[in-house]
Symmetry: C2
Subunit: 180 residues, 2 copies
């Protein structure tokens, strides 16, 4: 994202280190307004129903047609738990109950932080939405590993099934690299 | 933060719900660019040295003169752990080693997410900086509870000493409300 004009006064921008700062920022030449760019948080869930989990098949780019866990950008005015539940509802029509935080991932090369929660589906009610062409419950043996949309989701699922065998789900922070 | 002008083309903005969205956004009337506003992540540490922890006394507003744990905004291009260690170095001159994530807090009314890590100080090397007029190691009995800068830091410290008595530090997500 390039900042060409000041969102405060519409003036031209320059790249420099502001006083009492140590990072290069976009600063307005006219009014001095500093435009900070910070990582965005993506929140999502692993919705559990009995011994299955809910996946959704993307109806939008990128990765249209691939399967994923419900997740999306945290919005102003909501908690991480509320955001994760909202994204799950928007993408699967399922009203989940958040259990606990499960994984955080740094995706430094795209300036994203993922926070994934374990969640329960009180009843098997869900369905396709504008964002998801298909929504289904999967047993571990049926997970479409070759058709998972994003590396961070594949890693979350791998971690989840590994922990499921042990019956404990400790919270951890991981990293997703561009090539790995 | 109000967006008066488009950062892409400098054109005038309007507040409306974009197509295929369900939130009101700042949208450019001229080029259609959508300006998203998302919560910012603050990362910090509880730096441990033997049975003490490191606090810094703020040299800048807000809450100048009050004590706090080292913490600040996560920057693009760094992991949450690296950001927490960087902020600790900037505010206390201490080079900590991150142990593990300890607390996440939603501060919904200011659109912030805090992520606080337990960390160790390999040696008692630290000192004042531009941001901290004083930096000191504290025993629990000496913590200046009446002079802690922010509610989120007081809550982190309370949680920490409660867990310390039990000798386990489970990761949890909490909420900080405006009045409580
Ligand atoms: Zn300006
Ligand atoms: Zn524009």
């Amino acid at each position: 994202m390039t900042i060409n004009f000041c969102s405060n006064c519409g003036g031209p921008m320059e790249q420099r280190i502001p006083e009492a700062d140590d990072h290069i920022r976009s600063v307005c030449k006219h009014c001095g307004f500093i435009h900070y760019l910070n990582p965005k948080t993506v929140v999502g869930t692993i919705p559990e129903y009995k011994d299955k989990i809910l996946l959704c098949r993307r109806n939008i780019e990128p990765q249209k047609g691939k399967w994923t866990l419900p997740a999306g950008y945290l919005e102003n005015g909501e908690s991480v738990q509320d955001g994760a539940a909202r994204e799950t509802l928007e993408e699967t029509l399922a009203n989940v109950k958040i259990i606990e935080p499960y994984r955080m991932f740094n995706i430094v090369h795209v300036n994203q932080i993922y926070v994934m929660f374990r969640a329960t589906l009180p009843s098997p009610e869900f369905g396709p939405t504008k964002e998801s062409m298909d929504v289904r419950l999967f047993h571990e043996k049926d997970i479409p590993w070759e058709n998972i949309a994003f590396k961070v989701i594949k890693e979350t699922l791998r971690n989840y099934y590994c922990d499921k065998k042990k019956g404990i789900y400790p919270f951890k922070v991981g990293d997703i690299h561009r090539h790995s």
